[in-house]
């Protein structure tokens, strides 16, 4: 009797460490964030304490960085998603057929994904976008144009370029793999029936890629919502608030201005935002993913 009972419980015992740890990881800090967000808590003014209700939220939303932060978060996520999925589809379709050196091409295409974000940001800032010695400046001069000081004149565009360069390989990697399971005979048949390459792409390839694209969008969104290192190492959120996203704004309030209450309120807003995004995304692809 006891042995059957332990056998029934065994699977439960094996799962529980993971579940408990993740539960703690979720609940403890989050409840602390909720608590901090309702009190006055600034490490610089330890005497100033007490319950303040929703004041921190009001202050956070009144912060001059709040609206730009929201806008920049949206722009950064939206543009990067658009760039990486569109280019990702085009490039993965391009390299889908055999040609000389395809293996090396694949490796080159996916490499940026493995570069750490701080390296990525600094290489772009100093070696590529630098207005004097950068490669872009050299190319601009070569064509007789005035070199652009990218991070000062187009800061958000530069950040989007940097982040897209990092995440495009992710899209390519996923979509390239997904394309390999596309029915070649069906494509061949369509071609023999006189379908144009565009029609094949539109009616065979694209529908086949819809699910992998959804996966790419979902996972990229998770990571892009909290882009931090790329901003931290290049612009530090500036000039002004031009490249401050929500993650960076909260960081600057918590660890630069030491306002725990305010930063916690901001943190909760970020959590809320991520949850709204996640809710729709999981709806969209979550079911597919467990069917696998």
């Amino acid at each position: 009797m006891t042995s059957t009972k332990t056998k029934q419980r065994m699977p439960f015992f094996l799962v529980s460490p993971s579940v408990l740890l993740l539960l703690m990881w979720m609940i403890i800090p989050l409840s602390m964030t909720i608590y901090f967000s309702t009190i006055s808590y600034n490490l610089l003014y330890p005497d100033n304490t007490g319950f303040v209700g929703l004041e921190n939220f009001a202050f956070f939303m009144d912060d001059p960085g709040f609206l730009p932060g929201m806008m920049n978060t949206g722009l950064l996520v939206g543009s990067t998603l658009l760039i990486t999925t569109v280019l990702g589809v085009l490039i993965s379709v391009l390299v889908n057929r055999p040609f000389w050196g395809r293996g090396i091409v694949r490796i080159m295409l996916i490499s940026p994904f493995f570069i750490m974000p701080t390296v990525n940001a600094l290489v772009w800032k100093n070696l590529l976008l630098h207005p004097v010695s950068g490669v872009f400046a050299a190319v601009w001069s070569f064509f007789g144009a005035q070199p652009v000081d990218w991070l000062t004149e187009y800061p958000l565009t530069s950040i989007i370029m940097i982040v897209s360069w990092q995440w495009l390989p992710f899209a390519i990697l996923i979509l390239m793999t997904a394309l390999q399971s596309l029915d070649q005979e069906q494509q061949e048949a369509a071609r023999l029936d006189g379908a144009s390459p565009f029609a094949i792409f539109r009616y065979l390839t694209l529908p086949h890629l819809s699910r992998p694209i959804a996966v790419v969008v979902m996972i990229e969104t998770i990571f892009l919502l909290s882009i931090f290192a790329e901003i931290f190492t290049t612009t530090g959120g500036g000039p002004g608030y031009e490249t401050t996203n929500l993650a960076y704004l909260i960081y600057s309030q918590a660890l630069l201005q030491f306002d725990v209450g305010l930063a916690s309120a901001g943190g909760l807003i970020a959590v809320l935002l991520a949850n709204v995004a996640a809710f729709f995304l999981v709806r969209m692809v979550g079911k597919n993913m467990t069917d696998a």
């Binding site: 094996l14 989050l30 493995f114 070696l127 992710f170 997904a178 699910r211 931090f228 692809v285 993913m289």
Partner: protein, 277 residues
């Protein structure tokens, strides 16, 4: 017929050339970083950028003097290996149980685990920072290992789960008939049968921990700072430093880049949480 074949050939050539161009363009920043790391600072700063130069290894020796490279590299190695090892230790039993003793709740548990990845790190930065301060974990390798383990645990469970799912239940049942207990079942049957997949899981976790920047930057100063934090310390320029920056970046990225190349096919499954194989 011949013209059709010719057309096919021309198409392949065009596609090949175009693909190579795109790939070189995307790979260029990495190549450029690699080349710059062998230039002198004067060459690195030259306008227009110099394509031909006498390679030098002096940057690689200099960065170790300037910033104690091996201290940071060791921190990266310890935190990535440590968190991956502990994570796998916790994830494998969970994945085993979910793959072979599926209940009504298994799928929702898996999705819930995925959802913990959606909790933005900034949302819990303040409490984690304060907890770390109270427990003396700030700027310690133990602290980073704890965070990396928790952050990567969902991916490790998901990935192992999808690999275990492919093993027929009958094989495990046969083992059980022969008197194998759970531990033997996992070690003697399950792990050997899924070692390719588990290796990919380990590599992915190593890559993520190695490259992690948010927590590394916010929770460490020097003692436990990994390579991603060292590289970030190069963000404030000190005179001519492009070549040294490139050298330190190359060293920081090379091992992970090679890992990534080696297991690119298996990585897809982990990166897509099993949705794309």
């Amino acid at each position: 017929m011949i013209s059709l074949k010719n057309k096919e050939f021309v198409n392949t050539v065009i596609i090949g050339v175009l693909s190579w161009l795109v790939a070189l363009l995307i790979f260029f920043p990495i190549l450029w970083m690699f080349l710059t790391s062998f230039k002198t600072e004067i060459d690195a700063f030259a306008t227009p950028p110099s394509l031909f130069f006498t390679p030098t290894l002096e940057n690689y020796t200099l960065i170790n003097e300037r910033s104690d490279y091996w201290h940071f590299a060791w921190n990266s190695v310890v935190t990535s290996l440590g968190s991956t090892f502990i994570g796998m230790l916790i994830a494998i039993p969970a994945a085993y149980s979910m793959a072979f003793f599926e209940t009504k709740r298994t799928k929702s548990t898996l999705l819930w685990m995925l959802s913990t990845k959606m909790l933005p790190a900034v949302g819990v930065l303040v409490p984690i920072y304060l907890l770390f301060k109270d427990f003396g974990l700030l700027d310690t390798k133990t602290g980073l290992i704890i965070i990396f383990t928790l952050v990567n645990l969902p991916i490790m469970v998901w990935m192992s789960y999808t690999y275990f799912k492919e093993i027929p239940k009958e094989i495990l049942e046969a083992g059980r008939m022969d008197g194998a207990n759970v531990v033997q079942e996992i070690f003697k049957i399950l792990l050997p049968m899924s070692k390719g997949g588990l290796a990919a899981t380990v590599l992915l976790s190593l890559i993520f921990s190695w490259n992690e920047a948010f927590w590394s930057l916010n929770l460490t100063a020097f003692e436990a700072a990994p390579l991603s934090a060292l590289v970030a310390s190069y963000s404030s320029p000190e005179g001519l430093f492009w070549a040294k920056l490139s050298a330190v970046s190359t060293l920081a990225c090379a091992p992970i880049l090679i890992f990534g190349w080696l297991c690119q096919k298996q990585l897809v499954r982990g990166l897509s949480f099993g949705a794309v194989k």
